[in-house]
C-alpha cells in the first residue's frame, strides 16, 4: 500500500536510505519494513475476517428456522469452533498487530520496529498456521468440533484425529503473537524519540505496550495447555483424563488463565485507537490522560485474577466463587473510568462526525452495553441462569464486534489517508458505518432475549419459542456480513484514487504521525524528531 516515494522530506535525509522497496513478490516475502509488514497483517486479517464471517453466516443460515435444514450437527460444531478461532486469532489479533506495526514507530518517532527480521517472520508464520487449521475441514473426520474453548475431554479423548493439526496451528499462532509482542515492547521501550517520555506517549502506544505484556504472559500458558492435550492424546498422559487420575477442570483453569487476559488483548488496543480518534474529532485534548493509563494498567492486572468467572457452574467452592465474583465486579471500576473520560473528552468539545468518530462513538455506547451485561454475568447467582446461553453470546459479541472490530474500523479510517495519501470516500464510509451499526445490533441484541428465555449456546436446532428472535438475528447477520464488502471497496477505492490528503489529514489531529507527509514515505524518522 505504501507508495514508493522519492524522499527528501525533512524527516528523511539519510543518503543510504535512498532506495525504495524491492520489486515484485520479493518485496513482500523478504520485507523488513514495518509499513509493508503492517499492510500484510491488515490484509491477512481482512481475509480471515471474511472466512470467519462466512462461517458465522453458515451458522446463522442454519439457525434461521427451527429444524435441521442446511447442515448436520457435526458440521455445525465445526463451524462454531472455527468461527471463534479464526475471528480471535486470525482476524482481531493480527489486525491490531498490523496497526501496531504501521503506527507505533510513527507515533514514537522511530525509523522501524526494533527487530525487523523477526517482524517478517512473525507475520509469515500466520498464513501457514491458518492453512494448517483450515485444512482440517477437508480431512477425514472434519475440523475441530469442540468449541473455540476446546474443553477436555471433548477435545482430547473424544476429539477427531485432526485435533493434532489444530494443536500445531495454535502453537504457531502463539509463537507469532509472542514474537510480535516482544517486538512491540522492544520498540516502545528502546526506540522512542528524544523527549518522548513514557507519560507523553500516545494512548494507542500505551495500550499496546500493556497488551504486549499480557501476550507474553499468557500465550505460553495457551501453548502449555495445548501441549498437555497433545501428550494426553498421543503419549498416554492423563492431565485431563479422570480415569487416569487427571482432572478435566484443570483444563478449564489453565485455559481461562490464558482466556481472560486474551479478551483484554483483543480490546485494549481498541481502547487506544478510540482514545486517539475521540480527541481529534472533539478538537480537545483527551480528558484524564493519566487516569486512562492507570485504568488500562489496572484492567490488565485484574485480568489475571478473574478467570474462574467463566467457570461459576463447574462446582468451585463457595469461597472461590465469592472471590472471583468480587474480583470480576471490580473490573467495572477502571472500565467505567475509561468510558467517563471519553465522554468528558467529548463534553464541550467542537464535534464533527467523520467515519472514524462515528465508529468510535458507537464503540463507546455499544461496548458499554457489553460491559453492562458483563457486570450482570459477574453476579454469580444470576450467572447460573446466564451461563452458556445466548445471553453470553450476546455479551461477548457486544464487546468484540462494536468493541474490537469497530475499534479497528475507526483506526483504519483514521489512519488510512496517512498510509495511502488519499482521502477515502466519506459518504461511503458513513454508509458502511450505519449499515454495520444497524446490522450488528439487529444480529446481537435479540440474543439477549434468547439467552434469558433459556436458549443454550452452540446448538444447531432450537425449541419453537426461540424462532422469532433467531430469524431476526439471522437477517441482521447477513446484513452485517455483506456490508463488509463495501468496506473492502472503500479501501481499494481509496488506495487507487481520492482527494489528496494533507500531512495533518484531520483538523484536530495531534501527534508525530501527522508531522510526516501523506502518504507516509517508505522510511520515516531515520533522524529522530525532537519531542518537547
Amino acid at each position: 500500500m505504501s507508495t514508493v516515494v522519492d524522499i527528501n522530506t525533512e524527516n528523511n535525509h539519510d543518503d543510504h536510505e535512498h532506495h525504495g522497496p524491492a520489486k515484485g513478490i520479493a518485496r513482500w516475502l523478504f520485507t523488513t519494513n514495518h509499513k509493508d509488514i503492517g499492510s500484510m497483517y491488515l490484509w491477512f486479517s481482512f481475509i480471515m475476517f471474511m472466512i470467519g464471517g462466512c462461517m458465522a453466516l453458515t451458522i446463522r443460515a442454519e439457525l434461521f428456522q427451527p429444524g435441521l435444514q442446511l447442515i448436520e450437527p457435526e458440521f455445525f460444531n465445526q463451524m462454531t469452533t472455527l468461527h471463534g478461532l479464526i475471528m480471535v486469532f486470525g482476524a482481531v489479533m493480527p489486525a491490531f498487530v498490523g496497526l501496531a506495526n504501521w503506527m507505533i514507530p510513527m507515533m514514537v518517532g522511530a525509523p522501524d520496529m526494533a527487530l525487523p527480521r523477526m517482524n517478517n517472520w512473525s507475520f509469515w508464520i500466520l498464513p501457514f498456521a491458518f492453512t494448517l487449521l483450515l485444512s482440517t475441514l477437508f480431512m477425514e473426520g472434519g475440523g475441530p468440533n469442540f468449541g473455540w474453548t476446546f474443553y477436555a475431554p471433548l477435545s482430547t479423548t473424544y476429539a477427531p484425529d485432526t485435533v493434532t493439526f489444530f494443536i500445531f496451528g495454535v502453537h504457531m499462532m502463539g509463537i507469532s503473537s509472542i514474537m510480535g509482542a516482544i517486538n512491540v515492547i522492544a520498540t516502545i521501550l528502546n526506540m522512542r524519540a528524544p523527549g518522548m517520555t513514557l507519560m507523553k506517549m500516545p494512548l494507542f502506544v500505551w495500550t499496546w505496550l500493556i497488551t504486549a505484556f499480557l501476550l507474553i504472559a499468557v500465550m505460553p500458558v495457551l501453548a502449555g495447555v495445548v501441549t498437555m492435550m497433545l501428550t494426553d492424546i498421543h503419549f498416554g498422559t492423563s492431565f485431563f483424563n479422570a480415569a487416569g487420575g487427571g482432572d478435566p477442570v484443570l483444563f478449564q483453569h489453565i485455559f481461562w488463565f490464558f482466556g481472560h487476559p486474551e479478551v483484554y488483548i483483543m480490546i485494549l488496543p481498541a481502547f487506544g485507537a478510540v482514545s486517539q480518534v475521540i480527541p481529534t474529532f472533539s478538537r480537545k485534548p483527551l480528558f484524564g490522560y493519566h487516569s486512562m493509563v492507570y485504568a488500562v494498567a489496572s484492567i490488565a492486572i485484574l485480568s489475571f485474577i478473574v478467570w474462574a468467572h467463566h467457570m461459576f457452574t463447574v462446582g468451585i467452592p463457595l469461597v472461590g466463587e465469592l472471590f472471583f465474583m468480587y474480583a470480576t465486579m471490580l473490573i467495572a471500576v477502571p472500565t467505567g473510568v475509561k468510558v467517563f473520560n471519553w465522554v468528558a473528552t467529548m463534553f464541550r468539545g467542537s464535534l464533527t462526525f467523520e467515519t472514524p468518530m462515528l465508529f468510535s462513538i458507537a464503540f463507546v455506547v455499544l461496548f458499554s452495553i457489553g460491559g453492562f451485561s458483563g457486570l450482570m454475568l459477574a453476579i454469580a447467582p444470576s450467572d447460573f441462569q446466564y451461563h452458556d446461553t445466548y445471553f453470553v453470546v450476546a455479551h461477548f459479541h457486544y464487546v468484540l464486534v462494536p468493541g474490537a472490530i469497530f475499534g479497528i474500523f475507526a483506526a483504519v479510517y483514521y489512519w488510512l489517508p496517512k498510509w495511502v495519501g488519499n482521502m477515502y470516500n466519506e459518504k461511503l464510509g458513513k454508509m458502511h458505518f450505519w449499515l454495520s451499526f444497524v446490522g450488528m445490533n439487529l444480529t446481537f441484541f435479540p440474543m439477549h432475549f434468547l439467552g434469558l428465555a433459556g436458549m443454550p449456546r452452540r446448538i444447531p436446532d432450537y425449541a419453537l419459542q426461540f424462532a422469532d428472535f433467531n430469524q431476526i438475528a439471522s437477517v441482521g447477520a447477513f446484513m452485517f456480513g455483506t456490508t463488509q464488502l463495501l468496506f473492502l471497496y472503500i479501501v481499494i477505492n481509496c488506495i487507487r484514487k481520492g482527494e489528496k490528503a494533507t500531512a495533518q489529514v484531520w483538523e484536530g489531529a495531534e501527534g508525530l504521525e501527522w508531522t510526516i507527509p501523506s502518504p507516509a514515505p517508505y522510511h520515516t524518522f531515520t533522524t529522530p524528531p525532537e519531542v518537547k
Partner: protein
C-alpha cells in the same frame, strides 16, 4: 462435510414446509421460576439490570447532550480542560459503592444456593452422550432419559409439536415442597444440567460429583437442556422434570420398582427372533441410531456403519463385547451399564439381522449374563 452440504443442496431449495409454522410464545426476560432461589436470582437480575439502565441513562445522556449541543456545525468552540483529579476520584468511588451494594444480596443468595444439607430426596444425575441417567439413591430406581422428538420433526418432514426438542421418554419425577438434592456427574465428556425454572445449573464432569439442590413450590412440568457443548447431539439432550404431590410421587416410585422387578424376570424367558427384532428395533432407535443411524449406515469415519460390518456379521462374542464394554477412547459407550440384559440381547440380535445382516443369530439374555461372568 462439504460434500454432504452439496449433496443436500436439492432439499435446501425446497423451503422447509413444516418449519416454524407452529410458533410458541417467545420470552423476553428470565423466568421467575418456581422456587425461592429462582425468585431471589430473578430479583438480583432485575436489580443489576435497573442499575445498569440508570448508569446508561446518565452516561449516554451526557454524551448525547454533547453530540447535539457541542457540534462544530453549531459553532461550538472547544474548551481545553483535560484533567481533574477530583472528578476522577469521584467517578472511581461511586461505582465502588454501587458494586458493594450489589455484592451484598448476591453473596447471601449464593450462600443459600450452596447449602445442600438436610435433603429429603437424593438423586444422582449422570450425563452421557447424549442422554441423562437418573438414579434415586437408596430407592432402586434407575433409568435413562432420552429425547423423544422424532427425527421426522427435526428434518422438517413432519409438523413440529409444541414441546419440540424439549420432550423425553422418561421424565425425572420429584415431590413438591421437598428439598431434593442432585448429585451430578458425567460418564464421558462434560455436560451441564439446567432447569431454568429452578435456577439450577451445574456442570456434569467425569470424575467429579457436583452437588446442587432445589425445593419446588408448584407442581408441573419443567423443561431445560444440556448447556455445555458435549459433541454432536448437544442440542438434543433435554431435561424434563415432573413435579408432583408426595402421594403421587410415592406411587410412581412403587411402580418404577415393580417395573425393575418385572424386567429382571424377563431375563429368564426366551424369545423368538421376531420378538427380539421388535424389541431390538426400539432399543436401537433410542440408544444407537443417533450415531449409527436408523438405516445402520453410520457417519464414517467417526461413527462406523453396522450394515454389513465385520462386527455385526462376525463372531457373536466379539459383537457382545463391543456393545457391553464399549470401545475405549471413542464415542462408543459401554452399554452393559446402561441397558438390561434383555435389551442388550435384543439390540444385538437386531443389529445382526436388520438391514440385510441376515445372520439368523438369536442372542439371548443368558448369553449376555454368560459373557459378563467370563
Amino acid at each position: 462435510m462439504l460434500s454432504r452440504l452439496v449433496r443436500r443442496a436439492p432439499t435446501l431449495l425446497m423451503p422447509a414446509l413444516f418449519a416454524a409454522d407452529v410458533s410458541a410464545e417467545y420470552g423476553l426476560n428470565m423466568p421467575v421460576g418456581v422456587t425461592d432461589v429462582s425468585q431471589s436470582v430473578f430479583d438480583l437480575h432485575m436489580q443489576i439490570f435497573w442499575i445498569c439502565v440508570a448508569i446508561a441513562v446518565v452516561v449516554f445522556g451526557v454524551m448525547f447532550y454533547s453530540i447535539f449541543k457541542h457540534r462544530k456545525s453549531k459553532g461550538a468552540v472547544a474548551a481545553q480542560f483535560h484533567e481533574s483529579t477530583t472528578v476522577e476520584i469521584i467517578w472511581t468511588i461511586i461505582p465502588v459503592i454501587i458494586l458493594v451494594l450489589m455484592a451484598w444480596p448476591a453473596t447471601t443468595t449464593l450462600i443459600e444456593m450452596y447449602d445442600t444439607s438436610d435433603s429429603d430426596v437424593d438423586i444422582k444425575i449422570t450425563g452421557y452422550q447424549w442422554k441423562w441417567r437418573y438414579e434415586y439413591i437408596g430407592q432402586d430406581v434407575d433409568f435413562f432419559s432420552n429425547m423423544s422428538t422424532p427425527k421426522d420433526e427435526i428434518y422438517n418432514r413432519a409438523e413440529k409439536n409444541e414441546n419440540y426438542l424439549l420432550e423425553v421418554d422418561n421424565e425425572l419425577v420429584i415431590p413438591v415442597n421437598k428439598k431434593v438434592r442432585f448429585l451430578i456427574t458425567a460418564n464421558d465428556v462434560i455436560h451441564s444440567w439446567w432447569v431454568p425454572d429452578f435456577a439450577v445449573k451445574k456442570d456434569a464432569i467425569p470424575g467429579f460429583i457436583n452437588e446442587s439442590w432445589t425445593r419446588v413450590n408448584e407442581t408441573g412440568i419443567y423443561r431445560g437442556q444440556c448447556t455445555e457443548l458435549c459433541g454432536k447431539d448437544h442440542g438434543f439432550m433435554p431435561v424434563v422434570v415432573r413435579v408432583v404431590e408426595q402421594e403421587e410421587y410415592d406411587t410412581w416410585i412403587a411402580t418404577k420398582q415393580a417395573e425393575a422387578k418385572a424386567a429382571a424376570a424377563l431375563a429368564k424367558l426366551t424369545f423368538t427372533l421376531e420378538e427380539q427384532m421388535e424389541r431390538g428395533e426400539k432399543v436401537y432407535a433410542t440408544n444407537c441410531a443417533a450415531c449409527h443411524q436408523a438405516n445402520g449406515s453410520g457417519i464414517p469415519p467417526s461413527f462406523p456403519a453396522l450394515k454389513g460390518s465385520a462386527i455385526a456379521l462376525g463372531p457373536v462374542d466379539e459383537h457382545i463385547k463391543r456393545v457391553v464394554s464399549g470401545v475405549a477412547g471413542s464415542a462408543m459407550q459401554a452399554y452393559g451399564a446402561q441397558l438390561s440384559e434383555v435389551d442388550l440381547a435384543a439390540v444385538i440380535t437386531y443389529e445382526r439381522n436388520a438391514w440385510g445382516n441376515d445372520t439368523g443369530d438369536n442372542v439371548s439374555a443368558k448369553d449376555i449374563v454368560d459373557f459378563n461372568n467370563k
